[in-house]
């Protein structure tokens, strides 16, 4: 996997997922899911996301290192078992999220 040292976003050291004003309430389920979706399925989504970031950076010839930010955001928020289950579903082709 990606090492800790390689995952430094531009603004400085990663501490944890910051407050997201789109999800101000107690129920953070959507926050986790949205960040995971944004990371996995880039094209066509309105919010900034991992794959779009990677594509844009590659087009400009820059390193995609800052994109690791979105990866780390969903890793911080989502339970490990959820991520594993979704990744398995993606591999099996049974993932219900928008492709």
């Amino acid at each position: 996997m990606l090492g800790v040292e390689a995952q430094k976003p531009p603004k400085g050291k990663w501490t944890t997922a910051p407050f997201d004003p789109r999800f101000p309430n107690q129920n953070q389920t959507r926050n986790c899911y949205q960040n995971f979706l944004g990371e996995t399925w880039g094209a066509g989504r309105k919010s900034p996301d991992y794959h779009r970031c990677v594509k844009a950076m590659n087009r400009r010839g820059k390193s995609a290192q800052p994109c690791e930010y979105y990866f780390r955001e969903y890793r911080s928020l989502c339970p490990i078992s959820w991520v594993q289950r979704w990744n398995q579903q993606i591999q099996d082709g049974t993932f219900a999220g928008k492709i």
Partner: protein, 227 residues
């Protein structure tokens, strides 16, 4: 932790819990005053042979005992709302920890950096060391840094549970498929105990929670030692 024959709340560990303790003192005092006044009036009424059976109107006293309760309720509502909004303040957590309920233990995940996760089972009574607390000790405690806001995300892997720490004024239901967020800020180091607070089967009473609040350097050393 709670002590035998304890009547009141546990000592506060977080600023919100301190506010709640003060609010509870304030409200309970009002309740005691009203109750003792009512009891006194009832005893007065019962202890006299005088009667007065033809009261037609009593505008002045009616006004007083309408306005005065409204004022008392406002005096209770304003601090209550203040604390309610204080609980909802936006803060900037420095750490995210997930607590997942299982039948019948908790598992904790620290995934901000490396993937650190472990299970936390209650220590059976027969395995306790002298001085340890029955039905409250666990094998792996949740070690957290003190004096920083920490985001806790609570969920469940099977049935409903509830993650509660009374001395911090925290309780959130652990619901499968849902992530409930709470913020912990501890004012002091130490061990803080809680128990599962939603019926979840035969061992519902035997899946406690123990938080170990330590200074940041000690927390960093601990994370290095367990990963």
């Amino acid at each position: 932790m709670a002590c035998p024959y304890q009547m009141g709340f546990q000592d506060a560990t977080s600023p919100i819990m301190e506010e709640l303790l003060n609010f509870h003192d304030h409200t309970l005092m009002i309740v005691f005053l009203i109750s003792s006044m009512v009891l006194y009036l009832i005893s007065l009424m019962l202890a006299t042979k005088l009667t007065h059976t033809n009261t037609m109107d009593a505008q002045e006293v009616e006004t007083v005992w309408t306005i005065l309760p409204a004022v008392i309720l406002i005096l209770i509502a304003l601090p209550s709302l203040r604390i309610l909004y204080m609980m909802d303040e936006i803060n900037d957590p420095s750490l995210t920890v997930k607590a997942l309920g299982h039948q019948w233990y908790w598992s904790y995940e620290y995934t901000d950096y490396e993937e650190l996760d472990f299970d936390s089972y209650m220590i059976p009574t027969t395995d306790l060391n002298p001085g340890e607390l029955r039905l409250l000790e666990v094998d792996n405690r949740v070690v957290l840094p003190m004096e920083v806001p920490i985001r806790m995300l609570i969920s469940s892997e099977d049935v409903l549970h509830s993650w509660a720490i009374p001395s911090m004024g925290l309780k959130a239901d652990a619901i499968p498929g849902r992530l409930n967020q709470m913020t912990i800020t501890s004012s002091r180091p130490g061990l803080f105990y809680g128990q599962c607070s939603e019926i979840c089967g035969s061992n519902h009473s035997f899946m406690p929670i123990v938080i170990e609040m330590v200074p940041l350097e000690v927390f960093e050393d601990w994370t290095l030692s367990v990963t």
